[in-house]
């Protein structure tokens, strides 16, 4: 800093000196000085000159001058010049100045510093002082700065003062205080937990402004846990009703709409509350209807409200009447000439279309128009919409549209996103024909270039390598790929992205033998040409060399390859060099060559049995988990968790690439029964008066483009031609020429129109058939955030009792408490029920009955029982201990658990005088672990632990053996060690479905995984049934139906989340296809299926 000061002192422009010479200059002067600063800065090029100009000269200055200089510093910072030297002065100004200077000081601080800046600590005292000031403005300023920027550690210091402000007499102060508290909640939620009821007070504030401010907090809170705020639904509905009804003062009107921002906020809150909750949703139907009705005035802001209203209606539990009205409103948006509204309309459609594809049908012509819109944002949004309605029939048209857009788009972000989507579509749908697939992938590779996600080429290669059901088709696909790449290599390759070249070389290396009459030497030569290009990266060179090594079967090719490779044997890059040296070695050693490169074995890619679950790493993973490492999450889950913060999955780019890993191992191309069911349905819908037509589709205004033989381009053309004719006939002769020209323009219009219609018909194929199920079963778009819901004990008295017990018990069972706290990975997911062992049995027994033996455990036990006081005796002397566990202990289960499915009682561990046993009881919504601690002469108590089984559990269990319970138990002098790990099947419950329901659900689920599993026992007659039974037994699945060689099964997690399985056997393999609304469930379940099949 000192050199800066020095520099400043020597090179200080006259402008600052002049400031020195006129202390107390008038405001006008100050502005002009800022003006000249501005001018000088614009004339300057060097950065540090900017610094010098704003630098206050060394020497004392009055706060007033400091104020002027500070504004200058702010200006410099805004332009990007570093002005860090002024930070400390900003703080000083805030500390020492009068109100006016303070204001500038605070402003500068909040613009310059960030929350963890050290200098901020110097401000804390000032803020404290100002918060206590009697001057309203000072308080306001302090609150503002607190809400913009405040160090986290210092929150406790100001918190009580800010809290006090909630009861301040001025509403502006209360309002700012509420927002400041909200900010505190955002940065340190646990520190403001105790003032939640004050938030409620703020919500009920008599000033609507304060209430509005408090909604920020509630929106956040409800987003985090909607369950705990259901009771407020009524209040929010009432508030909204009053606002909509115009009960607020006129001040709050904006363009004669009452408090629009407040309405939007409320609607958003209602959406969160009503999501998947019929009862709560019912409370808000009326007010939503009212909101829809009121939003009639044609102003931007009413549309804003309307849009929020639509979102809410489609998020909460559906009501057909409202949905109908909402659909009409969406029409208003989509058909609006205002482009902003059109954009929002498309967004709304994108969201809604999953539930109600008919809407897309209604607006098909508008959608087509939007596809050619001049605004790329609109175009992209339209493509997003099309992406959502893609099915097997329209996939090629939609993909083509997307590729067209991609070719024009320059934006990297768009490219990455869309390329991922195209690749996903191309792989997901059974391709119309193989060459289409190869062409599409080629287009993706050349457009996506090196920015696309790396798993796209990987998946593609895997798909090629692993193949499908029929060998013939595999061969054809590979041959097509080889052909297209060979022809690509003949042209100029300099423009091709590296990734694409890598794919090309791999495919050629692997499959070029399939092409008859193609000499490997030829291929080597062509690949060699690639290497001549200097722009090619080392990584690609490695790929090319690797491909060459594979082609070295013939001596001719070998000779050429060696020549190329020789260049690289002295290359600096180790990977490339190794590749080259390996190739050379291969060339020298004939034996080795014949061994690694057997001539034309059918299918180079020999089936390798790979342990895809990586079970050999289980030990390592569980070790890591035990050491406290976080369980692994696959990338798409991570991405999803990020995007799930949002209310709706409205964002088109949130889930940019949920390319499921195994989607590429499409070894089974046959659709499962459910799918074929639906395709036959959609086949029907192509029938004449159209199922869709009779289906109450609102097709008025929409030209029917479907006929018995598919869509009707020709027929319409003739119809339209007929329609034209009369006009020309009736045209008076002297107007003939004129009308002719008119007619030509008309006919070109008609032609364009025609094209659009054709496009529409090809785009919206097969949409009408799925409407019915989707309306009812709303697909759960984002639900996994709610996995951690606690399992609530139903009976409140039960809770009390168990609480009492556990607290009174804590004395002797601290070890147990520790165990309970630590053992379960996520404490929030667990609810403890510590209950005295079968109360009925115990009531008659008392502690006198305890044989007075000098045994430590018994002493412990009686202590326990006396501690437990009125809550029921815990210890129970038992004379039956010597009896078998199986017969005795289960009877101690409480009545609620008796009838349920349970596992055998297993002894977990035992010491000299104590033993611990447990059994698992499968309750409908939880796994209850009943634990019996048994002493030599008594059963001490039973302990029940409800696991709220969530996906996390299933998942972590999928990665490694779940940690389960593992703890040393110290009770008195006896010490026990035990561990329990709940098996996967604990999380699953059979889901009884009919085949029809299954079909509906199958279509509505978005996440799927496919995999082939090797069936080990080939000799079995009915492999499918054996496999199904094994799965059923091991994983508690429900077999829905078996149709020929296909079987369908269903299960649900204890949390009620379903997963559907489709199995299909062929040639010793079991092709499993899983679908679920939750992203990770199929992956996890697949792992367990695999294990179950292997263990069989």
């Amino acid at each position: 800093m000192s050199d800066v000061v020095e520099k400043t002192l020597t090179a200080l422009p006259g402008l600052l000196l002049s400031l020195d010479s006129q202390p107390g200059a008038a405001k006008l002067c100050a502005t002009s000085r800022l003006g000249s600063l501005v001018r000088s800065i614009t004339e300057l090029t060097s950065k540090n000159v900017g610094e010098e100009m704003a630098e206050p000269p060394a020497g004392p200055r009055s706060p007033k001058q400091m104020k002027e200089i500070m504004v200058r510093a702010i200006y410099c910072e805004m332009l990007g010049y570093e002005a860090s030297f002024s930070y400390i002065h900003a703080i000083k100004l805030a500390q020492q100045g009068s109100v006016l200077e303070k204001r500038v000081g605070y402003l500068a601080v909040s613009l310059f510093l960030h929350e963890s800046h050290d200098l901020l600590l110097l401000l804390v005292n000032t803020v404290l002082k100002d918060l206590q000031s009697t001057n309203l403005i000072e308080v306001c300023m302090a609150l503002t700065v607190v809400s913009q920027i405040f160090p986290k550690d210092m929150i406790p210091a100001v918190l009580p003062l800010v809290e006090d402000k909630l009861t301040h007499s001025k509403e502006i102060i209360r309002r700012k205080a509420v927002l400041a508290l909200y900010k505190f909640y955002l940065i340190a939620p646990n520190q403001v937990q105790h003032i939640h009821d004050k938030f409620r007070k703020a919500l009920c504030d008599k000033d609507p402004g304060v209430m509005t401010a408090s909604l920020h907090i509630y929106l956040k809170l409800i987003k985090e846990s909607p369950e705990s705020y259901k009771d407020l639904t009524d209040s929010f509905v009432t508030i909204l009703k009053q606002v909509v009804g115009g009960k607020l003062p006129v001040d709050f009107n904006y363009h004669s709409v009452p408090a629009p921002w407040l309405q939007m906020q409320l609607l958003r809150i209602l959406a969160l509350l009503g999501k998947e909750d019929q009862r709560t949703s019912e409370m808000m139907y009326e007010v939503l209807d009212e909101s829809l009705r009121r939003a009639e005035i044609n102003h931007n802001i009413t549309y804003a409200i309307l849009y929020e209203c639509l979102k809410t209606i489609y998020t909460i539990h559906p009501k057909s009447e409202l949905l109908e009205k909402a659909a009409k409103c969406i029409g208003k948006f989509v058909l609006s000439p205002k482009i902003n509204l059109k954009y929002l309309g498309l967004k709304a459609l994108t969201y809604v279309v999953q539930q109600d594809p008919n809407l897309a049908l209604q607006h098909q012509m508008t959608i087509i128009e939007c596809l050619d819109h001049s605004d790329p944002i609109i175009k992209r949004e339209t493509l997003e919409l099309l992406y959502r309605i893609t099915n097997g029939q329209n996939v090629s048209v939609i993909v083509e549209k997307m590729l067209d857009f991609l070719r024009l788009s320059k934006d990297e972000y768009t490219t990455i996103d869309l390329v991922g989507k195209v690749a996903e579509l191309a792989e997901k749908y059974p391709f119309p024909y193989n060459s289409w697939f190869i062409q599409t992938m080629n287009a993706i590779f050349s457009i996506g270039g090196d920015v696309m996600q790396p798993d796209i080429p990987n998946n593609f290669l895997r798909l090629l390598a692993e193949g499908f059901d029929s060998d013939e088709e595999d061969r054809q696909l590979r041959l097509l790929a080889v052909d297209s790449y060979l022809s690509l290599l003949e042209c100029d390759t300099s423009g091709l992205p590296q990734r694409f070249l890598q794919v090309i070389s791999w495919v050629l290396g692997e499959f070029s033998f399939l092409k008859e009459g193609l000499e490997p030497a030829d291929v080597v030569e062509r690949l060699g040409k690639l290497l001549d290009d200097d722009a090619i990266t080392t990584e690609t060179r490695c790929w090319v060399l690797a491909a060459m090594s594979k082609l070295c079967g013939s001596s001719d090719a070998l000779c050429k390859a060696e020549k190329v490779a020789h260049k690289y044997t002295s290359c600096l890059d180790t990977a490339l060099r190794q590749q080259a040296v390996e190739l050379e070695l291969l060339g020298r050693d004939v034996d080795l060559r014949t061994r690694v490169l057997p001539q034309h074995v059918i299918g180079f890619c020999v089936w390798l049995q790979v342990d895809s679950s990586l079970s050999f790493l289980d030990g390592f993973v569980s070790d890591a988990l035990a050491r406290g490492a976080a369980p692994y999450k696959p990338p798409h889950q991570r991405q999803e968790e990020l995007s799930q913060e949002k209310i709706l999955n409205f964002e088109p780019y949130g889930l940019s690439l949920p390319v499921s890993l195994s989607a590429c191992s499409l070894t089974d191309r046959q659709s499962p029964t459910a799918l074929s069911l639906s395709s036959s349905l959609s086949g029907n819908s192509a029938d004449p008066p159209l199922k869709a037509g009779s289906n109450l589709l609102k097709l008025e205004g929409v030209k029917r483009v479907w006929g018995k033989q598919g869509y009707l381009p020709e027929k319409q053309a003739t119809e339209e031609a007929l329609a034209q004719e009369p006009s020309s006939i009736f045209a008076p002769s002297h107007q003939q020429a004129c009308s002719e020209s008119q007619q030509t323009t008309f006919s070109t219009i008609v032609e364009q129109d025609q094209e659009k219609r054709q496009l529409a018909s090809s785009l919206f194929v097969g949409l009408g058939s799925q409407n019915a199920p989707c309306l009812l079963g709303k697909p759960e778009a984002s639900s996994s955030q709610r996995f951690r819901r606690k399992v609530r004990p139903e009976d409140p008295s039960d809770v009390n009792r168990s609480l009492a017990v556990s607290s009174s018990f804590s004395h002797s069972s601290s070890a147990l408490d520790v165990l309970l706290d630590n053992a379960i990975p996520d404490p929030t997911a667990v609810c403890l029920l510590v209950e005295p062992a079968s109360a009925q049995n115990l009531s008659d027994s008392t502690s006198e009955a305890v044989p007075a033996v000098g045994n430590t455990e018994v002493v412990e036990a009686s202590e326990v029982s006396s501690l437990s006081g009125g809550s029921g005796p815990l210890a129970q002397p038992s004379s039956q201990v010597e009896r078998g566990l199986e017969s005795d202990l289960p009877s101690r289960l409480p009545a609620t658990l008796v009838g349920l499915l349970r596992s055998d009682v297993e002894e977990l561990c035992s010491g000299e005088s104590l033993s611990l046993s447990a059994c698992k009881v499968f309750d409908a919504d939880a796994l209850v672990l009943a634990i019996f601690l048994k002493g030599a002469e008594f059963v001490l108590f039973s302990l029940f632990v409800c696991f709220s089984l969530c996906l996390n559990h299933l998942y972590s269990e999928g990665v490694a053996q779940c940690q389960g319970w593992e703890e040393h138990l110290n009770l008195g002098e006896a010490s026990l060690y035990h561990s329990v790990s709940p098996p996967a099947s604990c999380s699953c419950r059979p889901l009884p479905l009919t085949t029809e329901e299954y079909g509906k659900m199958w279509l509505s689920f978005s996440h799927d995984v496919k995999q082939n599993l090797m069936l080990l026992k080939h000799e079995e007659e009915d492999q499918l049934e054996a496999a199904l039974t094994a799965l059923k037994e091991k994983l508690c699945l429900h077999i829905v139906d078996v149709i020929g060689a296909e079987g369908i099964m269903a299960c649900q997690l204890v949390s009620g989340r379903p997963c559907l399985l489709h199995c299909h056997t062929h040639g010793g393999m079991l092709a499993i296809w899983l679908r679920s609304p939750i992203a990770d469930l199929p992956d996890c379940l697949l792992y367990h299926c695999q294990k179950a099949i292997q263990e069989r």
């Binding site: 003006g35 200006y75 809400s147 921002w261 972000y413």
Partner: protein, 158 residues
Amino acid sequence: MIKAILIFNNHGKPRLIRFYQYFAEDMQQQIIRETFHLVSKRDDNVCNFLEGGSLIGGSDYKLIYRHYATLYFVFCVDSSESELGILDLIQVFVETLDKCFENVCELDLIFHMDKVHYILQEVVMGGMVLETNMNEIVAQVELQNRMEKSEFVFISRM
């Protein structure tokens, strides 16, 4: 939540920058440049919303902007804000500026940068919309201005 408010002119010169989420100095400048690049190439007859851009928050962020004469007003918000609502908020902000400066122009923003910031503070506080009523905002700002005119500490008991 509003992540940032940027005002720059037709040449991309920043006129007012307010970030509600911390970004390092050079990152801020980069965001301004990228935003200007995105916004400036759009015609006036296309929609006022933009998505993408990877700097602030990635996919979870939108740009909502309005173009007035020589100035672009850009609000960077996350997905929880309503597009149209923000669009009208910009309008309210600009109308307020117009009322406070009487025919506001780019120069006002340059020479009274601090005042613009004070007005903005009354509209948006810490990324949250505080007040949307123009009269209320103007009243608050005028209260502060009165204090400035009287040049002594104005203890308000209102």
